[in-house]
């Protein structure tokens, strides 16, 4: 066991901290108040550093950063409260394309994604298939040289500002569901696509996207025809592992400690002097250290080329479930003042805690619900028989 980072990774962490100090402060989040969790300047700055390309192997035109460097970048960004969503979708999509895409996609789209010029989005989930993602019904039919795509996707977050969507489609309805899937990268300027906003209980907006006889050449296909499930597995593992979400809590905890230290209750006592509050805050900090362990563990595995399906599930499960609890407890601690949303100039710390409270439920849903992750741990880690 050795939990120290190699010196070059520590140096990279220093570099990242300096970058964030120069290129990000929380006021930049004001642009996200319309629900689009994206800060274009930050994204551009990340691209300029070559960090969007980081985890993609050098020989494939990426940054050749190790998994350890990726987790450090992810960690520092989350600790600084910088949104990682766009970076995540970029890295995952680029990795998928480099592994499964045509030369056309590798040569045209990947560079644009990695240099920050183009944005992409995920198109897995459908109105009728969420956890059961392999049940996707959006059809792609070969028609001469073209594919004709018809269907609908839910939770195509960022579609309204993105250039592409990586789309899971059904190309063979007559075989077991996992065996008839094919991926495409679809440019949003292709005729036949409609994007409708999906507002949420939190600040962020998502989208539903509709595909009506969308025509694509075979160049846009990703992976084998009917080989979509292999692509999906890679994508999901990235999403549950290094793709982030392990450090959602620290900004909320820090803001909570700040509140507890600098405010008084109606009876004149400070929350921070209440041992019940202190115990909850320490428990939250312990959870953060556990998340850190999981994050470094996944990075270590990835760094050695090992897959970390189950470890990614554990990380996601633990991080999101504890994040929900932290938000609840810290939000409660603020009493009535905690109810003020970011729209109120009086909201403490820009409404960070209240916003996190409303956002937190979805973290146990998107990218694999807690129930799905528990199934995976039960079967994949404990070797329990498939649930009845």
């Amino acid at each position: 066991m050795d939990f120290s980072f190699p010196p070059e990774v520590e140096a990279f962490r220093t570099e990242v901290k300096a970058f964030l100090a120069d290129n990000f402060d929380e006021s930049m989040l004001d642009v996200t108040h319309d629900g689009t969790m994206h800060v274009p300047e930050l994204h551009a700055a990340l691209a300029a550093e070559g960090w969007l390309a980081g985890p993609v192997p050098k020989e494939l035109g990426g940054g050749g950063r190790t998994a350890l460097e990726s987790i450090v970048l992810n960690e520092e960004m989350q600790l600084a409260r910088a949104p990682i969503d766009a970076m995540g979708v970029t890295v995952i999509t680029a990795a998928i394309l480099m592994e499964h895409g045509s030369d056309h996609l590798k040569e045209t789209v990947v560079p644009a994604l990695l240099n920050g010029e183009a944005l992409t989005s995920f198109g897995y989930t459908e109105p009728e298939s969420g956890s059961d993602v392999a049940a996707a019904a959006t059809k792609a039919v070969k028609d001469g040289d073209e594919w004709a795509i018809n269907g609908a996707k839910m939770w195509t977050t960022m579609a309204h500002i993105a250039d592409y969507v990586i789309l899971l489609t059904r190309t063979d309805p007559d075989v077991p569901k996992h065996k008839g899937l094919t991926f495409f990268l679809v440019p949003f300027d292709t005729p036949g696509i409609e994007i409708q906003p999906v507002p949420t209980m939190a600040t962020e907006r998502s989208n539903a996207t509709f595909y009506d006889d969308v025509r694509l050449s075979d160049d846009w296909r990703v992976g084998e025809v009917n080989g979509g499930w292999a692509v999906m597995k890679t994508a999901l593992k990235y999403e549950r592992g290094v793709a982030g979400g392990q450090f959602m809590s620290p900004p909320v905890i820090d803001a909570g400690i700040d509140w507890a230290t600098n405010h008084e209750r109606a009876d004149g006592t400070r929350p921070i002097d209440d041992l019940a509050v202190r115990e909850r805050l320490i428990r939250a900090q312990i959870d953060v250290e556990v998340c850190r362990g999981f994050a470094y563990h996944c990075a270590d595995l990835a760094n050695e080329g090992a897959m970390f399906g189950v470890e990614g599930s554990m990380t996601k499960l633990f991080a999101s479930e504890t994040f929900k609890r932290h938000c609840r407890e810290i939000h409660d601690m603020m009493g009535a003042e905690g109810l003020l949303t970011l729209e109120s100039p009086e909201a403490h710390h820009g409404g960070l805690i209240e916003e996190a409270l409303r956002h937190s439920p979805v973290t146990a849903i998107y990218g694999g619900t807690s129930e799905i992750n528990r199934n995976m741990v039960a079967e994949g880690f404990l070797g329990l028989p498939r649930a009845r």
């Binding site: 939770w155 949420t200 209980m201 409660d332 009535a336 109810l339 129930e371």
Partner: protein
């Protein structure tokens, strides 16, 4: 009153419940809740209709224009109002009016409140300086009751405050206090008022929670994933079963607290505090499970379950941090903390 140990609504109470359930089902679909949220968080038309049903004055003395019903009857209405997230401050209004009635000397005002033509509320936390912050219904109430340093005061005629953007779009606003007059309600009388708020809010929480579970269960009986209804997954069933058990327990506790206040049992105040804490926690758990088992749709604004989640979060916080409520109950139970400043 003859002891009966009747833990279920009596026939009369069922009749009241059914009448108000139909009323809210018709007059307060979630489109009404959503419309109110866009404005002050209050629906004046709904309030008028509710006043026409006699709800605001229901548990006020007949001599003051009320219907002379018991707090337990009012609780039946709070239950169904909670289930519908009704954008009317019925609980705040009623407990404030009851406080003024108990204080005496405000007969005309109480009569207006019984009618519902004037809207009253209370500052659940003492004002700081001349401002009561984040007052429930502060954005819409005409009359404000508050308590500070052992003195309960009433003020009227100050303009309602501006609704502050908040988690559940409640009509929360700061109120600047001026022209307040002390009323004959000592600290015990004030505490009783807040206890009534606690117990009735607990009942409303139960209404909310039961509905949140209903919505969730209904969804899982329709939604198919992996070729089966997701309601057949044991993990979901057990989550709902724990929630339902907790909510049933909260129901029995909240109703007992209201009954204890009504009949002035010893320990009524303790039960009221306990009921609110437990009901809030149960309702939050129920709403959380229901959102979770909706998957992504639970998070979308379009589905109603998120409204239940946000209201479950907000209601108790109008009073303050639950940890402070536990500490308050502990002080009553164990005495003050020794060594505390």
């Amino acid at each position: 009153m003859i002891g009966l140990m009747r833990t279920r609504y009596s026939e009369d109470e069922v009749a009241v419940r059914d009448a108000f359930f139909d009323f809210f089902a018709n007059e307060c679909p979630t489109t009404t809740v959503r419309a109110a949220a866009e404005g002050t968080g209050f629906d004046p038309a709904l309030w008028s209709s509710l006043a026409a049903m006699g709800a605001p004055g229901m548990a006020l003395p007949e001599s003051l224009g009320g219907a002379g019903a018991a707090l337990t009857d009012l609780a039946v209405v709070a239950d169904v109002a909670g289930a519908h997230l009704a954008p009317v401050p019925l609980i705040e209004h009623a407990v404030t009016a009851r406080a003024l009635a108990r204080a005496g000397g405000h007969d005309d005002l109480v009569a207006e409140l019984a009618e519902g033509s004037t809207l009253a509320t209370l500052a659940l936390r003492p004002p700081t300086g001349d401002t009561a912050r984040l007052v429930p219904a502060g954005a819409v109430a005409d009359v404000l009751l508050h308590h500070c340093d052992g003195v309960t005061s009433s003020s009227r005629g100050n303009a309602p405050g501006i609704k502050l953007p908040n988690t559940a779009d409640l009509p929360l606003a700061h109120r600047v206090i001026s022209d307040a007059t002390a009323i004959e309600l000592d600290t015990d009388g004030w505490n009783r008022t807040v206890d009534e708020w606690r117990a009735l809010t607990a009942v409303a929480y139960v209404g909310l929670a039961k509905r949140a579970i209903e919505i969730g269960v209904a969804y899982t009986k329709e939604r198919i994933q992996f070729g089966v209804l997701i309601g057949t997954f044991q993990a979901l069933q057990h989550g709902f079963a724990d929630a339902a058990t907790s909510v049933e327990g909260a129901h029995l506790l909240a109703q007992r607290a209201v009954w204890a206040l009504e009949t002035e049992q010893p320990g009524a105040s303790r039960l009221a505090g306990m009921a609110l804490l437990f009901a809030a926690e149960s309702a939050r758990f129920a709403a959380d499970r229901s959102v979770q088992y909706h998957g992504g749709y639970g998070f979308s604004e379009e589905y109603d379950v998120q409204l239940y989640h946000r209201h479950a979060t907000a209601w108790i916080l109008q009073l303050g941090d639950p940890a402070a409520e536990y500490a308050r109950l502990a002080d009553a139970e164990f005495g003050p903390v020794m060594g505390a400043a």
